[in-house]
């Protein structure tokens, strides 16, 4: 996605996989060419593959020994796979039946990779790049194209489609550098390695032109190509500010609570998937302010059944122990279409059947989720919120359906209860008439709220600075919601990107918010920002 920069040079935005800053030459690397290989007799092919597997094992062991620690553990999976007879023997059987060594090897891996890639589990999807890494290493050896890795200058911003862990480890990061991936995932092994090494990494950038130099800002997830002098100056300023705050942020994280003007500020985290709880800082959160559930809809088998959903919710509640967990019901539609669930052919999906509107229109599917949530509610400190609510009647309709589901479950002898119910505040009408809603809590979805208030499609980069979440109209609605919550005794939090942006935090506190839900990687920085504000800092 392109966004307008205020000076020469174009900035591209992706998703943060590892925070940090890199400035250097822009180097593209590719996964290596495939040259065909002529197959010999089956016994020669078997021998060739055996030797290739053996060399691959040795190479991986070398890389692992040099890297040590977490990296070595990641590579252990590849070694284990090479030693897995159940996996390897069928490949030799194929070769025995006449297949070429490289073809048989690739076919077995491609099948496994396709299986991982189609998994609903992002963690498993991310493992597919480990498999591709292993597949390609053995293929390179088989095809004789070894040891021609291009020399990568240290400190470069490296661009690739995706990058396997072993390639990452072969790169010399001693002078810094960064990683910009066109695809990739923040939960991949490479991302874990990059975070462990402190190498900035941005993923899912999409297409990029060639360039000579680049600035990679892992904090704002931007990549600037062939930057001008002014861009470089601004970049260096951000880098310096980041360096200073980082050192103190880690220390602040371990303190029990953030306070501002003597009031406790609760900092919760947003999660997309259960695996997000693995983030090292997640344990310091005051709870989960937003668990999205849309990922459940995009699995290979379509929408998962009640039991699968229940187990997912229960897993998160178990992790949180006594801390609160707010789960948001399916927020499909808009920019999140789900085949077979969201309507097709809407002229304006952002103003169409999305969020709770869609769920109420599909009560059979919605009830499955509500049943799973009602069962989970007896297992921990669960709150449930509905997205995209416009009028109180929608909340009441959802509450009635939920109560019906609870009664059904109890009649069946299954433990269930109605959790606390709240709404997302993202439709301007809801924010303006906030006093009409009988909700136990409110969570401001500032991304959608700003987009609707400003009439700016948030995915349209051409709108540039018009899309400003700090516009007074947006802040007024945030303040109004917060004020209502205070009077009505209902908790109000904010779970949009603003909460994870240190530049927005002072304004949010001035608007009266005392609860913010941020992405786990931003937790330390936001806590630190609040700490500085409460100790008289200006907070920029």
């Amino acid at each position: 996605m392109t966004m307008r920069a205020d000076v020469a040079g174009i900035a591209y935005r992706g998703r943060t996989a590892s925070i940090g800053f890199a400035r250097g030459p822009f180097i593209r690397i590719s996964a290596g060419e495939n040259s065909a290989r002529v197959a010999g007799k089956p016994e020669d092919e078997v021998l060739a593959l055996r030797e290739a597997i053996e060399s691959a094992s040795e190479q991986i062991a070398e890389v692992a020994a040099a890297a040590g620690g977490e990296a070595a553990q990641i590579l252990e999976f590849q070694v284990a796979l090479l030693e897995d007879e159940d996996f390897i023997n069928p490949i030799f059987a194929d070769i025995g039946r006449g297949a070429a060594a490289d073809t048989a090897w690739s076919a077995a891996f491609d099948e496994q990779i396709a299986d991982y890639t189609s998994a609903s589990d992002e963690y498993l999807q991310a493992r597919s790049s480990d498999l591709a890494d292993l597949r390609d290493r053995v293929l390179r050896i088989l095809r004789g194209g070894e040891k021609q890795a291009p020399k990568i200058p240290s400190g470069a911003v490296i661009c690739a489609d995706d990058l396997p862990p072993s390639r990452f480890l072969e790169i010399d990061w001693s002078a810094g550098g960064g990683l910009a991936l066109l695809r990739g995932s923040p939960t991949s092994h490479v991302a874990m390695l990059a975070r462990a090494r402190g190498i900035p990494m941005v993923v899912q950038i999409g297409a990029l032109p060639d360039a000579a130099t680049a600035l990679l800002d892992g904090e704002s997830a931007t990549l600037e190509l062939d930057p001008g002098v002014e861009q470089i100056t601004l970049f260096e300023r951000r880098r310096e500010a980041h360096r200073k705050s980082r050192a103190s942020a880690r220390a602040v994280l371990r303190r029990p609570a953030a306070t501002w003007r003597g009031e406790r500020i609760r900092l919760l985290i947003n999660i997309q998937r259960v695996e997000d709880l693995e983030h090292a800082d997640a344990q310091y959160a005051d709870g989960i302010g937003l668990m999205r559930t849309e990922f459940l809809l995009s699995g290979p088998g379509g929408m998962p059944d009640e039991e699968t959903q229940y187990r997912t919710y229960d897993e998160v509640l178990r992790w949180a122990d006594k801390k609160p967990v707010t789960i948001r019901t399916f927020d499909a539609g808009g920019d999140k279409p789900v085949a077979g669930f969201t309507p097709e052919g809407e002229a304006n999906p952002f103003l169409g059947l999305r969020g709770l509107r869609l769920c109420l229109a599909r009560p059979d599917r919605f009830k499955v989720q509500l049943r799973a949530l009602a069962r989970a509610a007896v297992r921990g400190n669960l709150k449930v919120m509905f997205p995209m609510v416009t009028v109180p009647a929608e909340l009441e309709a959802a509450r009635a359906l939920f109560a019906e589901v609870v009664a059904d479950l109890q009649a069946e002898g299954i433990g269930a209860m109605l959790p606390e119910l709240g709404i997302m505040v993202e439709v301007p009408a809801a924010a303006m008439a906030i006093g009409d809603f009988k909700a136990s809590f409110f969570s401001i979805g500032s991304n959608d709220l700003a987009q609707y208030v400003l009439a700016c499609d948030r995915s349209n980069g051409a709108l540039g600075t018009l899309m400003d979440p700090l516009h007074p109209a947006v802040l007024e609605l945030i303040a109004r919601t917060s004020e209502h919550g205070r009077r009505a005794g209902a908790a109000v939090s904010l779970c949009g990107d603003m909460a994870s942006d240190p530049r927005c935090v002072p304004q949010l506190l001035y608007c009266g918010l005392r609860e913010l839900s941020v992405n786990a990687p931003s937790l330390a920085q936001i806590k630190h920002t609040i700490d500085r504000l409460s100790h008289g800092g200006s907070g920029g």
């Binding site: 553990q73 252990e76 796979l81 963690y123 709880l277 229960d314 897993e315």
Partner: protein, 101 residues
């Protein structure tokens, strides 16, 4: 290769998977490595309706996709079957500790 094996009785056991993200790469590697130390044939499954799979195959163990809190069933037969089941249960119950145990 299911329940009706001729070589003596199976040793069986059950253990709850407490690992935060379920049976993923690192737990799977540890489990198969440990299983391979035993002569016994060892099978596991993550639900009563699933097929038994070879506990020594990392590809198969990953393919279980066992989530956190699954009940892992283990069965083994062979000379050291009893020790194998005990060791695997201990590994899963203690959440796959690091360091060479």
């Amino acid at each position: 290769m299911l329940e009706t094996s001729a070589d003596g009785p199976f040793i069986t056991g059950k253990v709850r998977l407490v690992h935060a993200v379920g049976m993923h790469a690192r737990p799977a590697v540890k489990l198969t490595k440990l299983a391979k130390r035993f002569q016994a044939q060892i099978s596991i499954r993550a639900s009563e309706t699933a097929d038994w799979i070879n506990a020594k195959s990392v590809a198969k163990v990953m393919a279980l996709r066992a989530p956190r809190d699954s009940l892992i069933e283990i069965k083994a037969h062979g000379d050291d079957a009893e020790a194998a089941v005990a060791a695997l249960i201990d590994l899963v119950a203690t959440d796959f500790p690091d360091a060479g145990s």
